[in-house]
Symmetry: C2
Subunit: 112 residues, 2 copies
DNA sequence: GTGGGTGCTTACCCTAGGGTGAGCAAGCAC
DNA sequence: GTGCTTGCTCACCCTAGGGTAAGCACCCAC
């Protein structure tokens, strides 16, 4: 537990958590991560349907950011109508695993 | 990994992560958690000094929310000038441990 | 030619959450 | 009386991030 960085790290990051929080900071990002983990390959429309409440604009921008962050991979097939498939990268998969204890914590407390 | 809840859970929570994200959702909450973990008992002013950039208003409101969420305990001594000490609850300590893998993930990626 | 399907983008609005600065109670030191 | 301390609160502003609705490209089916 004494392995985290102390203050003074570059760009104001105290420990790795801030870095992680920036990546999962969007309102729906953990849910996208979760869906892509459950089914390793999802199309845009599938994700929209699977995550009730999310709008196309936000889904698109979240996916773009997550792609830029290297946790999501986007594959576009040159077809009509267009087909685009999203999947987790290695890093995204590891991020999801790192979220597991947090999910457990939340699940325990919502039961209690 | 197949232990998380499926959609249809009460109040729109898909898995425990949403619950956890609500608790750590504030801009500075993970840092407060971290400081209280490093030193089990901190005064208000100490926290303000230890977390550069946070304002008194936000620190106070974050602490109040975290107390309401049951992750932080507030003890006020009837002295002048006033003395108030904050510490993690059992649940807060477990939350912090659950954040550890996430911190590790972030740390690895900021090195790379 | 009208409609449908897909994966977006663009323009706009709107609110929550955070930042700014001031004030306040209450006692002590000088 | 002036100032110092601590742990806040209150009033205000301001911006990022999200929600709303529309449009667009491309082809097919009818």
């Amino acid at each position: 537990m004494a392995t985290l960085n102390r203050p003074g790290a570059p760009d104001g990051h105290v420990c790795g958590i801030d870095t992680a929080m920036e990546v999962i900071g969007g309102k729906w990002k953990v849910l996208i991560l979760w869906e892509l983990h459950e089914h390793p390959c999802r199309r845009f429309g599938e994700l929209r349907r699977l995550i009730p409440g999310i709008t196309e604009k936000v889904l698109a921008s979240h996916l773009r950011e997550m792609e830029a962050d290297g946790v999501v991979r986007r594959v576009s097939y040159d077809e009509v109508p267009p087909r685009v498939e999203y999947s987790l990268t290695e890093d995204g998969t590891r991020l999801n695993k790192a979220l597991q204890p947090l999910a457990d914590w939340g699940r325990e407390r919502s039961i209690t």
